[in-house]
């Protein structure tokens, strides 16, 4: 398998200052993340997984180092350009599902698409396809209040996938879910990487996910301690749709 590097992080450093105490959260970290793979960031709580994700995805500016994503120097872009870059290339899945209570599943997925300036027809087609992909075609017209936690997270994933991003970031996508729903979610993410060639970078301390990742980066105290490749991780027998 030819590796396409989607993101290249070099010499990344980040400290947070609370009061007079400054804590080094990411320490001289360099990492490459490839397209078409599900890469898992694992490690104990507070080791800096979410912070690294935020820096690589253009949400949090690092104190030092650089991030090259799809050939762009992310942290050289101005605020507007960075926003456009995120709009066109990046999808996010968060631990909280962050769905609008008033919208049904199709509308949740259509909403970010509307900022891409696609036609109504194309927007709808993509939203339906994305919901199909996460196995929620039959939940299209339900609002978050009528969905289970796992279904909500799948809507959130559909919302991120409908943009057809080259880069997908997921932070603890399964930690609010039971094991079956968590399994479903990780399968969907895995399939997105395989089928669409998306770079999927997932931060989690859930050990159940390790077996399903193509690659596991073990972090501790702001550093990558181990970089393990799993040549052929099993796709979950539990398929969706």
């Amino acid at each position: 398998m030819v590796e396409h590097v989607a993101i290249r992080g070099r010499g990344i450093g980040k400290s947070f200052t609370v009061g007079k105490v400054s804590t080094r959260v990411i320490d001289e970290l360099s990492v490459d993340v490839a397209s078409g793979e599900l890469t898992l960031l694992s490690g104990p709580s507070g080791c800096g997984k979410s912070t690294l994700l935020a820096i690589l995805s253009g949400l949090e500016r690092p104190d030092a180092g650089s991030v090259e994503a799809l050939g762009e120097q992310v942290w050289s872009l101005d605020r507007k350009a960075l926003q456009r870059f995120r709009l066109h290339h990046i999808g996010f899945v968060f631990q909280g599902f962050n769905l609008f209570p008033a919208l049904n599943s199709v509308e949740q997925v259509e909403l970010p698409l509307s900022y891409l300036g696609l036609g109504a027809e194309e927007t709808r087609r993509r939203a339906w396809a994305a919901l199909d992909e996460v196995g929620l075609a039959h939940r299209r017209h339900m609002r978050p209040a009528e969905l289970s936690g796992g279904e909500k997270q799948r809507v959130a994933i559909a919302r991120a996938l409908a943009k057809r991003p080259q880069l997908l970031f997921a932070d603890e996508p399964t930690s609010a879910l039971d094991s079956v729903s968590g399994q479903t979610v990780i399968d969907i993410l895995h399939r997105a990487a395989r089928v669409h060639g998306t770079m999927v970078l997932c931060a989690s301390h859930d050990p159940r996910l390790i077996a399903h990742a193509d690659r596991v980066l073990r972090m501790e105290d702001g550093r990558v301690l181990a970089d393990e490749h799993h040549p052929h991780p099993p796709m979950g027998a539990h398929t969706t749709s």
């Binding site: 949400l59 507007k80 709009l87 066109h88 970010p112």
Partner: protein
Amino acid sequence: MVALARKTLVYEWRRYLPASLAVAFSGMLLLVQLALVFGIFDSAAVYINASRGQVWVGYPGTQSIDLGRSIPRDAQMRLLMNPQVAQVEPFQWVNGDWRGSRQLGSVSVFVSGIDPAPDGLVFARAIPPALRARLEEPGAIIVDRADLPKLGIQVGQSGILNGQRVYLVGTTSGLRALGGVNIVTSLATAEQLNVGGDPRPAYYVARLRDPARAAVVAAQLDPHDRQRRYAVWSASTLAARTIHYWLFETGAGLGVVFMSLVVFLVGTVITSQTLMGAVAGSISEYATLNALGASHGALSRVVMEQAGWVGVAGLLGGGVLSAMVLLLAHSQDVPVGITVAGVTACAVLVMGITLFSGMLAVRTLRNADPARLLR
């Protein structure tokens, strides 16, 4: 385009209800206040507005119709010499002291002496000809029906006015005075009641052949010199002077402005707090949209659209509330005056409240920082 603003408003209407109610009540308070002030001050000009003449002659510098002083009788001749003038009529003004029943004590009243002829000009709009004719009887008076309790008599009964017995021959409406009771009599009866006062009338009222030329003819008729003993105004000028006097010289206008500011402030505080609460409640959803590439400008538009709809709902609610209150006031003979300009001003102020609140709520969006979603 997903109608996020509207869908959220409909789905979470309970959350936005306080804002709409605040807007509605603000609008209602503003409009009712304005209507009451205009209504009350309209009654200061009731002598002019209820009469048919287009030109008024009175003492120079008179600021409000109730402040009139006697003017020379030759003014009438001067008026009649102008070919534009079709009819001239004196209007006598006598301050009076009313004694009805013993329990009520004395009441200060304004006696208007008018020509009881069927084609008389003064109060022609308030007193129908048949009732007007009954003023021919010596000692006959007419009052607004809302003033009956103050005077303590009924139609057909009598009371003592300036020490003389007078009879109530009928009532009408739209004659309420500011700060007293209007009593209408014939010129002859007014002369009888004017014990020791200047017998000359306070005003002359003229009807023109061409009503549209009131301003021009009034300017022609005014003597214009410094020592003039009377001045001539068009009816609308004198009415405006009177309302202006009450609005500004009495401090009532300042009261209106102050009250409007208070209403604006309270309305804005409640509305903005509600909208800010709604934004804060969805802050992680907004942050997610921002992470996915929606600009802060796009999110601001959602909040402003919500503010706009809250304002529209509030305007409708305020309109209904105002209509109910004003109808109630009207049915109770409380003078209310509504003008298109007044309603427009209130609507603009109310939309101002919501848009200003919306802008305050947009500031809350600054907390929509997607980096905070990654922890």
